[in-house]
Symmetry: C2
Subunit: 551 residues, 2 copies
Amino acid sequence: MSRKAKNILFIMFDQLRYDYLGCAGHPTLETPHLDALAAKGVRFSHCYVQSPICGASRMSFYTGRYVHSHGAAWNNFPLKVGEVTLGDHLRARGMDSWLIGKTHMSVDHEGMDRLGISRDGIIGARVAECGFDVFLRDDGLWGEGPKGFYDKKRSPYNEYLKGQGYEAENPWQHNANAGVDEDGNVASGWFMRHADKAANICEEDSETPWLTSQAMEFIKTQDAKGAGPWMCHLSYIKPHWPYIVPAPYHDMYGANQVLPVVRSEAELQDTHPVYEQFMQNEIGQTFSKPGVREKVIPAYMGLIKQADDQMGRLFQWLEETGHINDTMIVVTSDHGDYLGDHWLGEKDLFHDPSVRVPLIVYDPSEQAEATRGTVCDALVESIDLAATFVDLAGGDVPDHVLEGRSLLPYLYGQTPDKWREFAVSEYDYSATPEAAALDLDPKKARLFMLANKDWKFVFADGGFRPLLFDLKNDPDELNDLGADPDYAEIVGMFMDRLSEWARRPSQRTTVSSEYLEGKRTGSSSSVGIFIGVYDERELPPEVVEKTITYK
Amino acid sequence: MSRKAKNILFIMFDQLRYDYLGCAGHPTLETPHLDALAAKGVRFSHCYVQSPICGASRMSFYTGRYVHSHGAAWNNFPLKVGEVTLGDHLRARGMDSWLIGKTHMSVDHEGMDRLGISRDGIIGARVAECGFDVFLRDDGLWGEGPKGFYDKKRSPYNEYLKGQGYEAENPWQHNANAGVDEDGNVASGWFMRHADKAANICEEDSETPWLTSQAMEFIKTQDAKGAGPWMCHLSYIKPHWPYIVPAPYHDMYGANQVLPVVRSEAELQDTHPVYEQFMQNEIGQTFSKPGVREKVIPAYMGLIKQADDQMGRLFQWLEETGHINDTMIVVTSDHGDYLGDHWLGEKDLFHDPSVRVPLIVYDPSEQAEATRGTVCDALVESIDLAATFVDLAGGDVPDHVLEGRSLLPYLYGQTPDKWREFAVSEYDYSATPEAAALDLDPKKARLFMLANKDWKFVFADGGFRPLLFDLKNDPDELNDLGADPDYAEIVGMFMDRLSEWARRPSQRTTVSSEYLEGKRTGSSSSVGIFIGVYDERELPPEVVEKTITYK
């Protein structure tokens, strides 16, 4: 059977750290199925997300553009109408673009109304779904409080569970993400003391297996229709919190498999004011308490182990159906999880546990034979995937719209011309309590990271000093050199790079570089526009023929 | 009769220098009607356009956003669909937005097709006209060459002329913008040696009187319908080249009324490479030849004199109809004209003759009494007009979309809080022969100006040194200090400001500052999202009620 990437299975986990895979060197967590995929493909060891938060990061994945370019800079900031999506690019090249799972996309209703785009038509439906055709949309956060649900949409997953006989009003909340305490009460996974309980659900009904089944269902449907080529975004909510997992994964790992925490007392001295605010938030404080990591991380590892098992199930099925030979498989995450490292929880800032993500790309094509099982340490940004997929679908990558670069050359064993010299990530915390505590103008509560293999530089707008880490000598990023005058030159170099990056013509999206170069002949005289010509007799008669008439 | 600004007459001339008005100090050019408007309103002496070229500058006027934000960075780069226009803002506040004349706007057809926006509907028609309802669109450049017309649309002005009995195939070209030589041949105004001839047209049929009549017709139509309030953009092509004007204006000024050229031999030494390229283009070369300014500038002055007379006619009519009491009148231009100063012609760069424009704002309202006849020297940008109009139309100015500031406080004699400290202008020359000569990447052929009253700084991307002028000691901008190490600190300060400006969250247009500040309470627990909570017993029971159930 010939092997060629025709379809793309673009798998995203949520909040999966770059280093929580066996193939990435985790010493106690086993992920044999993802490791096997890495052994058949290329693992990119230095992949950075464009923002260490779901919504902003994902909008970059789905537009192939920096957060500063698309503007949907935090969770639930609507993606402005007019932004060109991966789906737009792929469909223009004959490839469908499907969604199964989470996008965290908010609709720019005001923009759609302004432009009269109906949500009922196919165009409007895609605009409202970030360019995807929806096989299934479920963002996986069905929390409900006194002011109602966080997510106002319907949950296909809750509907599934109810169909399976789960009787809770919100089985996502009360079964999939909760255990049962000694008295038979719901012990919600939202509260970290319950992380070691088994979720009160059959394992095969939990979120990750359910979504995996949906993916197989999708592919069967496409096959039955003879449809394709397709790009399918299979987007899991896990191992994102609530940190709780069904049996047998809930006690597969214990405290002695938890990695030592990466933090230092020095980080608590003269801490950068923005960093300090995030340390002081509830999750930073909670993760810094004795015993919390040991309680929570085994659940996080269990969720990953379950995910790996589901990958095994899916990859086996792709083997059986032959799709392993015609489908590019990509596995990544939208950001990581501090898990107590650096006195922090969640993500938001730019230490490696937060901003770096796993990236494995398997390409069945013959051209990719030479690179199978290799690790590529180029500085990769998550926006490179959109460019890669467009490249695979065919035709030039429109670099006046897409800001990433295709990874296909790396897969094919080639060295791309002038690769980027640093990766950029951004964090807009203007809508957070941390910004309130710092009394920041919403236009100034923003962080910009620039990193290469030697340095990680973080510029904090609003009048703060920068942060700087010497990655060669301090790979754990424990010693912030941002205030050290000995490093002023490095800081200055990064400030220049940041300025250059910020100036890029990211909105000049209606004209291509080819168009611009083609216009440089200054040929306006051919359409009768003469600028600075003193005497028509200097010009060939045919050029002025329409302009002058002679008696 | 009560006096209050209800409507807005937003008058734009094309290529009108800031200093070519009597009220701005021109010693030989008389503009009594515009001077009279200035005497009733406020003249802003330091108004900068966002780009010294028609298309980019106008897209900033019409969106209220920097060129770096809207991306339509040069003539005929389509304005990307999704950009919110002045018309959108005003209509949302109950004010109509009408066009009479020129916009130089190119349609993003690809974007409209992608979003399924029909050009036949009212929404699509407005999207295709930069947010305006069109009373009349005529961009005023009907040149024709061997490859056809520069502008593919129909010309209402040519239709008018044909209706008046002009028999040429293209009377714009052969009558309005051409004289007749001694042999009776068409002596085209495109060629500067003919600038002293009278255009072969009745003065009242020439472009400026014709468009002025259209404006009166428009207002009559609105009055007859009882329509309004309205903002009407009355947008003239003149005094833009071709430099030729009908009698009696063609010989109203002579060589002895032409201002001395502002240039120096020093400018030809160690010239900045980008500046040097523009000096070497045909119009720079032509204007630098002896006698050319003396031939051309009297025609340019005649065009302005004619414009002023038409303003007199229009203002008189507004008096007679009473509209002078209910209409804000704004007069400005899209950029200036070097006219040989600094060895340059046209515009494109950032010396005052190019980047500064006249701005007179007359507001009939009572609140504006105290400022009548005053000159305001605040640093004003052309994007301030959109904010001003939105402010006048009512409601808050949405500062997450509009990047300018309302000028109403200045009109009302107030001092706005924290006014800008420098004005920004940009020039994208990526599609020009100058970029080709410098062999520049299209993403790097870009200039950024930052100016205040003391300094003008121009950053030239692509590896060039900056330009710097000491405006206090060198108001004519003849001595470029950009390479002088004594000014490294000033250069560094402006580089920091440029970086800060470039980082601004210009695309975060779907969430307001008020929204962001309102989210800072971190109230996700109210919708059942708990981040970092270890023990639910720490929380009030009503907050966790939906999350936990007890047996």
